[in-house]
Symmetry: C3
Subunit: 140 residues, 3 copies
């Protein structure tokens, strides 16, 4: 059984949903040594998140941003935790709706995603800055 782990920082992204599959593969090239196993990617923040979704049409990612702004609206008045601005508490809630990590099967040295699947960084803050990831691969 093999276990590979690394930490990496993503370059700052604007608020929205961004494909980062390539950056993750580049950060842990040892994935190619795993014949069968799992890749886990964790984001060390509570106002950004990770998810898996369509890797082709950019309007999918724009519609994600629009819809999450409806599900968790900044103009609502019930938030108490607002001292960092209107995108503060909403970012925390969006982050938990999507999750802080994704786990993906590895098969024959490659991520075993569907043809249309990619990994998204979901940047919920207006100015989130660089985001840190911990990437772990386990398998045989």
């Amino acid at each position: 059984m093999k276990c590979f782990q690394t930490e990496t920082s993503l370059s700052p992204r604007k608020r929205g949903f961004h494909l980062i599959t390539g950056e993750i593969l580049k950060a842990l090239p040892e994935i190619s040594q795993v014949n069968a196993g799992l890749l886990h990617v964790h984001i060390k923040h509570t106002s950004a998140s990770l998810t898996i979704n369509e890797n082709a049409d950019p309007t999918v990612r724009e519609d994600f941003e629009s819809h999450f702004n409806i599900l968790v609206p900044e103009e609502a008045t019930h938030y108490q935790h607002t001292f960092e601005g209107p995108d503060d508490m909403t970012s925390h809630i969006k982050a938990s709706l999507l999750g802080a990590s994704v786990t993906i099967p590895i098969t024959k040295g490659r991520l075993n995603l569907g043809t249309w699947q990619g990994i998204y960084l979901c940047e919920h803050r207006n100015h989130g800055g660089s985001r840190s990831l911990v990437i772990t691969a386990q398998g045989v």
Copy 2:
């Protein structure tokens, strides 16, 4: 440490939430060889998802369908990605709200789920067709 992995196709289901625990166990009988570990199930699609919820009363699964249609309504007008119909973008969003994979503890050769827990296939498309899963078990 042991690692078992397989791919399987689910028979097409109608739109809605469906219990598939039995099919997963059947697809990877090697689970019985794991004394302590984890099972990971990944769906290779972006318009269907997996979750864990109540395995008894079928109205729970019907209420899931009703409520997700309220959280992500097809009649909304803000979606840009609609060329495959009104159930296209909504399915992508529902899929990320629920997630593309579940991870479940294995104890003494069996899934260590609660009494009332089962694995759901969440089929968000009107005509999703057959869905592919990658199933991985790791443990001792």
Copy 3:
């Protein structure tokens, strides 16, 4: 490769979001023996859930409770599964929006969470009682 697994019961919590990172670490002290790996925490219930979010300001957790009551309102009339009361079906839906498990990297014997990240028990029932967890650590 090492694999440690235990089951533990949390003391009953009132409805809402509660930090339980300390209790999880206490339940599986063998985490300190893992140099690089993953911790998986699974809740064996369908009306409570787990998530990772801000570990400091308690109003974040109060705002989570407020917002999930808006996303999944008890006063809605479309639920069929209501025989255990208005907090029954809503708890099932909230549980799947957040998820039944979290997976967290372990690095040098410690959870590799961000500075502001903690593990939440999300208790969706009015009287949920004690909740059972299965905690699994795998790594080298």
